[in-house]
Amino acid sequence: MNDGLPLWEVFVRARNGLSHRHVGSVHAADPKMAVEAARDVYTRRLEGVSLWVVPSAAITASDPGESAALFEPAADKVYRHPTFYVVPDNVKHI
């Protein structure tokens, strides 16, 4: 039966102040049904305070064939990580 229903990606905000995170997908005929399905499948154990659903078809993904060009250049650039200075103990959440 799912064959006829579009796929939706589900994002859950676990707590106020945090960002929505991708948790999985559901099949649904329309946005309202997708939110209800996401609520039942992904938040029934109190996992979240807010839900987003996005038609999977609306997502443009990077091409795995271009992984080398897209991602490997970052591998040898350790200086892009902010680890070369001392963070005072009192400064949190960095």
Binding site: M1, N2, L5, V26, H27, K32, E36, A37, D40, R44
Partner: protein, 233 residues
């Protein structure tokens, strides 16, 4: 009288919750499977509270478990609609839609009532039932306004359940009929479904006169506690 009300509402929730649990692993999709069993679990939670309120520590019905697992079918006070077999998905949705559209205003009135304990249970349960009602109405519209096949099944499901709806408005619940009618008619209009033809209503559940289905349901639900009394995990 208050205890009677708690017993009726607790039994409605317990029996319908059990019916919904029968869909576990059998629903048309994973999403629907979880939705129906979530609703079943909500109802089971409500049953626990209402039956605990109906229990009498001094009698053999000392707690919710005793009431749920040790009564025979003629001692249950649920409405006949709650105990009806699932049928196909459309009939299950019809049953849920008609029931939740009734349960929501019942709990709303109870939440504003004088009995503080029942009011607290009703306020908590009301939020759950608002979702059940919206979920079921959504599916009534989707199936009614869907394919020729889904429309036919939805209409059949409603027809099948219709004769059990008069019982919901017996006695002091009669005042809720107009609101329920308007709500049901509104959803049916959106779904492109005709209101089922009037039929002679069947009642008796509130007095312990049940359909043949309840005994079979209880046989399954009560088997373990009857075979192993006071068993614990």
């Amino acid at each position: 009288m208050q205890n009677d009300l708690a017993l009726c509402l607790g039994d409605d929730a317990l029996i319908l919750g059990h019916r919904l649990s029968e869909w576990c692993g059998h629903a048309p999709t994973l999403e629907v499977d979880l939705a129906l069993t979530n609703i079943g679990l909500d109802l089971l939670g409500q049953a626990q509270f209402f039956l605990a309120a109906a229990a009498d520590g001094a009698s053999e019905w000392r707690d919710a478990d005793a009431l749920a697992y040790r009564r025979t079918e003629d001692e249950f006070r649920n409405c006949l609609l709650a105990e009806q077999p699932n049928g196909d998905f459309a009939r299950t949705i019809a049953r849920q839609f008609l029931f939740s559209a009734w349960q929501e205003p019942v709990l709303r009135e109870l939440a504003g009532g004088a009995d503080q304990a029942l009011a607290a249970i009703a306020a908590k349960s009301g939020k759950e039932v608002a979702y059940h009602a919206s979920f079921a109405a959504g599916w009534v519209i989707r199936l009614g306004d869907g394919t020729a096949e889904s429309h036919r099944r939805m209409a059949e499901g409603l027809d099948w359940c219709w004769r059990f709806t008069d019982e919901l408005f017996e006695d002091e619940r009669a005042g809720l009929r107009a609101e329920w009618d308007a709500r049901v008619d509104g959803v049916l209009a959106q779904a492109g479904l005709a209101r089922p033809k009037p039929v002679r209503g069947i009642g008796g559940g509130r007095h312990g006169r049940h359909s043949e289905h309840l005994g079979h349901l209880l046989a399954e639900m009560q088997y373990l506690p009857r075979a192993y009394p006071d068993a614990v995990w």
